[in-house]
Symmetry: C2
Subunit: 110 residues, 2 copies
Amino acid sequence: MAIHKKEEFSTKEQHLAAFAKAISHPARIAILSVLAKRNQCICGEIVEILPLAQSTVSQHLKELKNAGLINGEIDGPRTCYCINWKAFEKFNADFNSLFEKLKEANAKCC
Amino acid sequence: MAIHKKEEFSTKEQHLAAFAKAISHPARIAILSVLAKRNQCICGEIVEILPLAQSTVSQHLKELKNAGLINGEIDGPRTCYCINWKAFEKFNADFNSLFEKLKEANAKCC
DNA sequence: CACATTCATCGTAAAAACACGATAAACAAA
DNA sequence: TTTGTTTATCGTGTTTTTACGATGAATGTG
């Protein structure tokens, strides 16, 4: 890649891409799915469900947290995670504002 | 990575992740945005808009096409692209079915 | 036919993502 | 205090992504 040019795009495009990147791996989808069902969950429980090593799961959790999709709270030796629904709402809104606008007008294609 | 374990997740998780991966780069978001506004567009017009080389844009277009998000039709020496709206609807549906379900119940977090 | 235009593909290089084991840090319990 | 539990981080190796220039293929145009 040499020089990555992500900065040369609009912030809205960058934000949308960053959110999409965060959910662009089945493991992270699975993590979010578990959190959505259980409301909150400690790391260890997720490790038991996923077919991945503890360090790998922890890495995925970190990426989700950095992207703002989940919150983590230290609880003694454990860490409790949950979904940040506001981030999801923002993604949905941005996503629709970019692509849903002209959906009806664009029934026909080239 | 050695062995990638994406196959060990459910097909629904894999499909969602694949769609997200396709839109996980600002350049591809920008391409989709242009296509949404113009309905259809040839490769050369996109190259003029984006701050990327022609070969790079072509590569991004290929990824979007492989993921099923756009259609391409050869028109003489040109290639005309447009958005596959059905794919977007499917993504929206899958996305909501996974994460929107328990949104109300999960107002409080850990 | 010769030449230009348009786009895809190839080869390459640098960067990032992915996955793991090992280790470290923080806390609870004996 | 010593030990065990839980999680994050570090170091490493492999794979994938990103980006470009150069080349090739296909179609027009003079």
